[in-house]
Subunit: 366 residues, 3 copies
C-alpha cells in the first residue's frame, strides 16, 4: 500500500584471480574462480519516518565456514531500522556499518576495484557491529555528524555475546563537504562542473580489559590481532576526497593506539615495559586517483598503500594497485580488472608469499 | 494470479542487555547489543486448499554457529505445507512448531517480553521438528485437536538424520475455549467485553533407547540433557489463559517423566536403582499477568516461574520478571523493556552467575 | 519495469524414510522424517541479453553443518549470470551446474524419484562449480555444445579458495536430439506422438598435483575420495534418452581414469606400481524406464544401477529401485514413493548396513 514500500534487489559478482608467487613458494590456492557476491537486499520504508534494510550474501552463507565471520564479506551485511521522526537526530538500530572511515561507508558496487584498501578492509578495525547510531546533517547537508555505541566485537557481535569484559565501543565521525553536499561515491560519474571537496574526521574507543583467564572469541581479533585488544584501544582517522570533471581522488589515514593491560601481550613482541611504554601504534594510509572516461564507459584507477602493523617492529608494507572497469550497463553491469603489486611486506609480522596478483571478473546489480 | 497468492514480510529486532552479576563473578559477556531477529517470511496460498510458509532468521544463520542449532532462535524457523482439502482433518507436512504448549505456539511478536518462560523456551522439550501433524477444529472453532509424529530430535532433526534408535516422537494436544474461540495471543489488545477462557492439555512420548556405544547428536539433548533421553520420555502439560477488558493471564505447567535405560545415566545423578526407581521427574510452571493500557499504547506484564531440573536433586529455581512495551505503531513497532530477577537457582545442577538482568530494545514487523 | 523482470518462487519437499538393516546392524539413524528442500529461487532477465538466477536451500543452510558442503543438497544451489548478446556463443558466469551428465543437468522436481542415481549424485564427480561456461546451440536447437573452465574443487569451490595446486578443471559436452529438440526432462508428460531421441557425450579433465605436504580441503574429495585426485583425473561419459507416448528412458555411463602422482596414494589400495600401472579406473552406469499414466496423474519408474569404485578391487555394487509419483497438481504438487534394493555392495570399499529402503513424501513447487 501507499504507506509501506518494500523493494527487493540482488547483486552477483564473480572473478578469476591469479597470483604470481615469490620464487620457491608453491601454495597456489588463490588461483581460482570465485563467487564473490550472491546477495539479496530487502529495503523498506514506512511513511517518511521509518526505514529498514536487510542485506544477505548467500555466497558467504553458502560456503558455510567454520564459525568465524569474514569481516570483508560477512553473510549478513545489514539488518537495521532507522527512525527519522525526531527533530534532534535520526536513530539507527541493529546491525550495520559503523560511522568510521569514508571508504568503509562508501558503497562498493561503485568502485573500480575488487577490494578496498587493506587498512579499511576490516582487519585493523571492525566495519560492522550491533548497536545504536545517532546522526544528523547540518548546513544544508554539507555537514554530517554521527555518534554511536556498539558491542565492540565488530562483525563477531552477530554471534550474540560480548567478550568477558562486557564493555562497549564508542564511535564518532563528522564530515564537511564544500561547496556542495557530496554523495559517498568513489567515481565522479556525473563529471562535476565545479570542484567538490569533502573532509572527514573520525575516532573510536574501547576498553576491553579481559578478566584473568578469559579470551576473546575466535576470529574476533582479526588477522593481525589488532581489531580488539586486551586493554584500551584508541583509533582515529582522517579522510579527504574530491571530484572534478570526471577526476576523483581519495586519501585516508588511520592510526591505532593500543594499550594492552598485560606486559606479556603478544602485541608487545616480547619487549619490556621500559621499551614499549605500554603502548603499540599501528596504522597507515592509502591514496587513490580515478578518472571516468565517459565516452568509452570506462573508469581507470590507481592506488598506493602504506601500512605498519606495529611500530615496535622496524618494517612496514607498501602496495601499488591499478584497476580498470568497463561499464556494459552503467554501474549495474561492469567488467572489472585489478592489478596488485606487493612492493614491500612487513616480513617478520606478515610475510607474503606473492609479488603480484591479477583479478578479472564481472559485477552485477539487479 | 488469482489462484496463487504469495506474501513476503520481514521482522527485525534488537536490544541492549545488561546483567548484574553475583559478587565475585566476572564473566560479563552478556552485557551487549544484540541483533535478535532479521527474518524473512514467505507465506503462500494456492486456491483454498494449500498453504505454505518458509521463515528464515538471518541473524542466526549469519552468526554461523558451530553445528548446533539454537532451539529458541533457529536459523530456519518454519518450512511447511498445509493441506486443507480433506473433510476429516487438515494435514501439515515439513518443519514447524510442535502442537505442544500454548506459550510455544503463541506468536512471539505479540509478547511484552524478549524471552519466553524458561520451561517453554526449548530446553525442556523441543519446540520444532520435522514430521506430520493432523489437526481439526470442532464446536465452531472452540475446540482444537492436534496429533502428530516427528523425527523426535526436535530442532536437531533439521540436520537430516535421526539418532541411532531410529524412533519417532508422538505429540498430541487439545484445547477448549469458552464462551467463544480465542486467538493465540498473550495480550487482550481488543479489550474483550466478555471474559474469555481457554484450557489446553497436551502430552508427548518418545522411546529413544540407543544401541550400545551410540550417542545423541551434539546439542540435541539441550542445555540440561532433558530434551531427549536415552530411554523413554513422557512429557505432559496443562495450560490455561483468559482475557477480559485488557487484562490477560497465562498459566502453564509441565512435567517430564524420564526413564533412562542405563542405571548409570547422568540423569540419575549417581544414585542407585533402589533410590531412583528407574525414573527422573523434571518440570515446573509459570504464571503471567498482563494489562494493555490502551490510552497510552502500553502493555505491562509480570511473570513468575518455578523449575525443578531433577527431582532426585533437592533444589529448584525461581525467577520473577516484569516487562513493559510501548507501541509506537501497534505490535508492528514496539519498544520493549524487560527486567529479570533470579530469586533462587538450583545450584548443584545449574548454578547461575547473575542476580538480575535488564533488556531494552526495539521490535519491528514489516 | 519492462526492461527488467524478476520472478520469485519457492520449493518445499519433505519425506519419511525407513531403512531395513542387515541382520546384526543397529544404526537406525536413517529412519526419520526429513525436510529435504525449503528453497527460495530468484530469477531475472534484463532485456533479452542478460539472465540471472540465485537459488538457495534453507533446509541445508539452516541445518548449519560443520563446514563441509553436501554435493547433492548444497545450501547455495545457483548464483550465475548469463549473457546472450553475442553471436558466437552465450556466456555463463558464476556458480552453477557443470555441463556434464544429462541426469545431473535435468531439473529434479520433474523426477519420480527422491534421489538421483548414485553415480550422478555428486560423489564421483562434482555437479556444481564456480567458473565460466560458453555454450551454443546448432541445427535449430537439436545440437547443444558446452565448454567451460572452473576452479575444480566442485561444490567446495564456494569456500573461495582453490587447492594448493592452483589448477582448474576443464569440462565439455555435446548432445544431439533427433528428430526434434528435446527438453531436459525425465518424464514424457506430453505423450510425444513421435519417438524422440537424444544422445550426449561429455568429458572433463583436471590435473591437481599437490605440492609436498599439502592436502585438499576437508570434504572436497567426496565420500569415496574420487571427486578430486592428487594427480590427473580424466572423466568421460555417455548418456542416451528417449520419449514416446508417455514412455521415457535414460541410460548413462561414466568412467573415471585417475592417475595419482604418488605411489602410496590410498586409491592404489596398497598395490605396487607394477600392479597398478599408475592408474585407477572407477565407474558404472544406470538405466531407468518411466511411464506417465496420464489418466491417473501417475508416473511409475524403475532404475537399475551398477558401480565399481575401484578396478583394483574385485567387487562392485548393484542396486535396483522403483518409484511412483501421484500428481495432485501436476509437477507442482506430487506425492512420491521410492523403493530401494541394495542387491550387492562393494564390501571392502563401501560396506552398507542396509538391504532395503522406502521413502515416502510430498514435493511442492510454489
Amino acid at each position: 500500500n501507499g504507506e509501506h514500500n518494500i523493494e527487493i534487489s540482488s547483486r552477483i559478482s564473480t572473478y578469476y584471480n591469479q597470483r604470481f608467487l615469490k620464487p620457491g613458494e608453491e601454495e597456489r590456492d588463490k588461483n581460482r574462480f570465485r563467487l564473490r557476491d550472491a546477495q539479496l537486499i530487502i529495503e523498506g520504508r514506512i511513511r517518511d519516518d521509518w526505514e529498514y534494510e536487510v542485506q544477505v550474501d548467500f555466497a558467504d552463507i553458502g560456503s558455510n565456514n567454520t564459525g568465524e565471520i569474514d569481516a570483508e564479506n560477512p553473510g549478513l551485511m545489514d539488518a537495521f531500522v532507522t527512525y527519522k521522526g525526531l527533530e534532534a537526530f535520526n536513530i539507527k538500530l541493529g546491525y550495520s556499518k559503523l560511522p568510521y572511515s569514508r571508504s568503509s561507508i562508501t558503497p562498493f558496487p561503485y568502485s573500480t576495484y575488487w577490494q578496498r584498501a587493506q587498512i579499511v578492509r576490516g582487519d585493523f578495525f571492525s566495519r560492522r557491529d550491533v548497536g545504536v547510531t545517532l546522526y544528523k546533517d547540518f548546513w544544508q547537508k554539507r555537514v554530517n555528524a554521527f555518534a554511536g555505541v556498539y558491542t565492540g566485537l565488530g562483525e563477531s557481535s552477530l554471534s550474540g555475546d560480548n567478550d568477558a569484559s562486557g564493555n562497549p565501543e564508542f564511535v564518532a565521525r563528522v564530515d564537511v563537504s564544500y561547496p556542495a553536499p557530496m554523495k559517498n561515491r568513489e567515481i565522479d560519474y556525473v563529471h562535476s562542473s565545479i570542484p567538490l571537496f569533502s573532509l572527514g574526521l573520525n575516532g573510536r574507543y574501547t576498553n576491553k580489559n579481559l578478566p584473568d583467564g578469559e579470551a576473546f572469541p575466535d576470529g574476533a581479533a582479526g588477522e593481525y590481532g589488532l581489531k580488539i585488544v586486551d586493554g584500551k584501544k584508541y583509533t582515529y582517522g582522517m579522510d579527504f576526497t574530491f571530484q572534478y570533471k570526471g577526476f576523483s581522488g581519495q586519501f585516508e589515514i588511520h592510526q591505532i593506539n593500543a594499550q594492552p593491560q598485560n606486559e606479556n601481550d603478544p602485541l608487545f613482541l616480547g619487549l619490556t615495559p621500559a621499551q614499549t611504554e605500554g603502548r603499540v601504534l599501528a596504522g597507515g594510509y592509502f591514496s587513490q586517483l580515478n578518472y571516468f572516461v565517459k565516452d568509452y564507459n570506462t573508469i581507470v584507477s590507481v592506488r598506493y598503500e602504506q601500512l605498519d602493523l606495529n611500530d615496535l617492529n622496524a618494517g612496514d608494507s607498501k602496495r601499488m594497485s591499478a584497476a580498470i572497469a568497463y561499464q556494459i550497463d552503467g554501474f549495474d553491469a561492469m567488467v572489472k580488472l585489478q592489478y596488485f603489486n606487493n612492493l614491500n611486506d612487513q616480513e617478520s609480522l606478515d610475510p607474503l608469499d606473492w609479488n603480484q596478483q591479477i583479478r578479472l571478473g564481472l559485477q552485477f546489480n539487479l
